[in-house]
């Protein structure tokens, strides 16, 4: 880091009526620009749906299946989709996301919301590669991961995630 961003050498004459200083406007402007960029990047990533890597060719590893783990957690996979949410007990955006997903599960047929504590289920969160809370794994009917999202999810994002599992209307799904 450059320290001459704030040159200490420029001692302005101190008048008796107050301290006369060269205000560091460039430093503040740079700082505000940096803050705005970080804020926009962060907000853009919130709840954004990501497909597992691989896909077309290359790694192409089979998606991890979570059906057995759902059973172990005492929850059956949804006939259409399961939102497997990794949360921390003290994380505020986790609570918000849980409300959104619980509401969606209550209203959309075949959709299940399962919330897992990353502190007590370290093995599961490690296997899922969950670094941030909340992270939501979107699973298909077989319990395979279709997509995931980190950060607080809006109701619109949750709905879009559901569409990612069943892009075309399935016979089991009804149009709301």
């Amino acid at each position: 880091m450059q320290t001459d961003m704030f040159p200490p050498g420029e001692h302005q004459p101190v008048s008796t009526r107050g301290v006369q200083m060269s205000a560091q406007w460039p430093a503040l402007v740079a700082l505000v620009v940096l803050t705005v960029v970080v804020a926009l990047v962060w907000r853009r990533g919130q709840g954004r749906l990501r497909r597992p890597d691989g896909g077309s060719s290359g790694r192409g590893a089979a998606p991890d299946r979570w059906a057995a783990d759902l059973d172990a957690l005492g929850a059956a996979a949804g006939a259409r989709a399961t939102f497997l949410q990794f949360s921390a007990p003290v994380c505020a955006p986790c609570r918000a996301t849980a409300r959104v997903l619980a509401a969606l599960a209550a209203e959309a047929p075949g959709v299940v919301h399962v919330e897992v504590d990353v502190e007590t289920h370290l093995d599961l969160s490690l296997r899922a590669g969950v670094l941030r809370t909340p992270t939501v794994l979107v699973l298909d009917a077989a319990g395979a991961e279709v997509a995931r999202a980190s950060g607080a999810m809006t109701p619109a994002q949750a709905r879009a995630a559901l569409d990612a599992v069943t892009p075309i209307d399935q016979p089991s799904g009804r149009n709301a």
Partner: protein, 161 residues
Amino acid sequence: MTRSHRTDLEAPHGTTAEPAGIDPRGPRVGAGITAAMLAVVVLLGPTTPALVLLAVVALSFLPGAVWGPRATWQGWLFRVLVRPRLGRPEHLEDPRPPRFAQLVGLVVTGVGVVLGLAGVLAAVPWAAGVAFLAAALNATVGLCLGCELYVIGRRLRRARA
């Protein structure tokens, strides 16, 4: 049959170990006030007035780090001036992550003050700049970096245990 499961997460509020929830808008308003003060510190540059103002900001973090953000004068201003004009919050928030965030703020600004007192005045606007970034992100988009650190830290401690 319910289709939403909370496997073993603590109940949101009301259980014995759980402290009472706080209005999440309070820390954000407080962060806005703090960010404005830190912007002035940056503007003042490596000077004694900047050091004095940064010391004021650091001292303001102290009660927040000990008792939580509601104990700060910014929290008091929120309760007296802002909250009466707002509706009820949609939900409450665990006070522990924002309290830890206050501690992070105290450490960052405190390092700037200590270095400044030791004669390294250049550290004053730098510490203020780092703290400004965090406070402004919290105030504008609700990203609380200290809270995220707290959540990650708890998880790491659990993993090691």
